[in-house]
């Protein structure tokens, strides 16, 4: 299985540990990655605030590049996934619009035919690698570790563009992975809600309230750690958690793991090589308790 790998800006920027952990786990899963070094940022829904069509043109260019290679795209960020899925949905369901967008790509020697599929690593694990193969790679089941899933909005909604209407399992994929890795799923009300990151600059108070609510709720429901397929959620839930706890005059201290880090632990990789020492909320003591010492 070869994918055109779209790492996204955040794994190349403020969450280098995400990129690092994907690099550690993927070769062991029978996956080949061809990194898309010339693809632009998806716009993350932010560029789209200014100019939605420009966003679609940039993403159509990325899809066309993957199409030329005949490869599906793999993302490792809920936001990249959602923004691309939405763009692809518009382009593949409105032929006239696709034509118009291709009009802009023409002078770059590109045309998108609408055949590229875009899949988050989370879905690839279940749909392409498969639960059985995954189980074979687990050398250190995460028994006793209680993990709360946190998806990120863009990989949950809108369900139609994300293909969740056709693959309902995608909506529960994170819980499935946690189970396969041998950990215990901690269900809590906030798992599909917003982490608050998009309003961090405009309304920090509301943003931090969201961070505090979800991390505290997960902890109250018994979570040792939280796991997310979205590095933007990670930036807020990990990076801003102390500030959020201060704002709400409480202590939280819930480590937030990137999905490939949790997977890597179960595959027997050591915590340092998975970048687990690079978090603001240290997972050290929690993992030690679960005998997954750093």
């Amino acid at each position: 299985m070869t994918y055109a790998f779209f790492p996204g800006c955040v794994s190349k920027g403020a969450c280098p540990e995400l990129y690092q952990s994907v690099m550690q786990v993927y070769p062991k899963l029978g996956i080949d990655l061809n990194e898309m070094t010339t693809a632009s940022c998806t716009g993350a829904g932010v560029l789209q605030e200014k100019d939605p069509k420009l966003g679609d043109v940039l993403n159509a260019r990325t899809f066309a590049l993957a199409e030329q290679q005949g490869l599906p795209i793999m993302t490792i960020c809920s936001t990249c996934q959602g923004v691309m899925s939405q763009a692809n949905h518009r382009l593949t369901t409105q032929p006239q619009y696709l034509q118009q967008v291709n009009g802009f790509l023409k002078d770059e020697g590109l045309a998108y035919r609408g055949t590229t599929t875009i899949k988050h690593f989370l879905w690839i694990l279940l749909e392409d690698v498969g639960a059985d193969t995954l189980r074979q790679h687990i050398t250190r089941p995460l028994t006793g570790l209680r993990a709360a899933p946190f998806y990120g909005c863009y990989i949950q909604r809108p369900t139609e563009a994300l293909g969740i209407d056709d693959h309902p399992d995608r909506g529960k994929s994170l819980e499935r992975i946690i189970e396969i890795l041998g950990a215990e799923v901690v269900d809590f009300p906030g798992k599909t809600r917003c982490c608050g990151f998009p309003i961090l600059t405009i309304n920090e108070k509301n943003s931090l309230t969201m961070v505090a609510t979800h991390t505290r709720d997960a902890k109250t429901h018994g979570a040792d750690i939280m796991v997310t397929p979205c590095p933007l959620c990670h930036l807020n839930l990990d990076g801003m958690q102390s500030k959020a706890a201060n704002q709400e005059k409480t202590a939280i201290d819930l480590p937030i793991l990137h999905l490939p880090q949790l997977l890597g632990l179960a595959m027997g990789l050591d915590a340092k090589s998975l970048g687990l020492t690079r978090h603001l909320i240290s997972p050290e003591s929690v993992l030690a308790q679960a005998t997954l010492a750093l």
Partner: protein
Amino acid sequence: MKTTLRVRRFDPEADPPMGYVQEYRLETEPSETVLDGLIKVRETLDDSLALRCSCRGAICGSCGMRINGHAALACKTKVISVAPADGTIEVEPMHNMPVIKDLVTDMAPFWSKIRQIQPWLQPPGTAPKAEYTASPEAMTHLSGVMSCIMCGVCVSDCTVLEVDKTFVGPAALAKAYRFVADPRDAATLRRLNALNQPGGMWDCTRCMECIQVCPKGVAPMDRIMALRANGMAAKVPSTCGSRHAEVFTDIIKHKGILDEPMLAVRTFGLKHVGRLLGMVPMVLQSVFKGKVPKSGPLHRPIPGIHHIQRLFKRMRVKS
């Protein structure tokens, strides 16, 4: 099929007023909706159950409630489409508004937010002799947003309203767009300036809950994004939100990839230097933890950036 409706009830007359969950077991037909089920409960099992409905055909907007954790119109939700294998469906009143009794919520806060955006046409000068005219294209563009039935479903599930009651919310913002984009309206700039204030169009966190749950395809968040674009185009005073979008776009244009430190510095600028300084402890801690990529905090432009720049240019010329 065997169906269990687990209904969150609220009795305002109890002393003290109390909330509790009550289960009703009943038989439902494959063609029946959750509303049909609830009406059956009221008619055959418990006439004290309070709920609101009228048209039973997704037109009046009165039967909004939460079904299995998401707001929906009960009359548009088939039992069969939401019941899991054991046939148990959770039914609760809508969130983000006070409950009057059982499934009946108080829509007063909803209407006050709709009124806040002045939901009426404000045409220029004196009225023309004949009617105000608008092009069919302009009205077709508005038809989606005009199909809002004011059910409150989007408001119920709005993430921001959950933490901040001052947010004007998805339904009112969608309605505001309906007038901002109406070619006959002359108050556009005043409206955009009002929406530019705290609690307005920039406070939405883009969670897409409202797009997902709206039973009429109004896509409130898409309207909010269109309001933001209109606001930036009309050059209403910049906010941290608008600068964030402008700077983000500019960075992509020059590099093809995002520089997060640059985004923060340029978004806050000197005007909000306090906010920047507030981030210093987090940034220092991140550096200390090695959360900086090997290549350094700022990126070089991606290979092929000239393609990106040409696309930006071509798009600008077109628009």
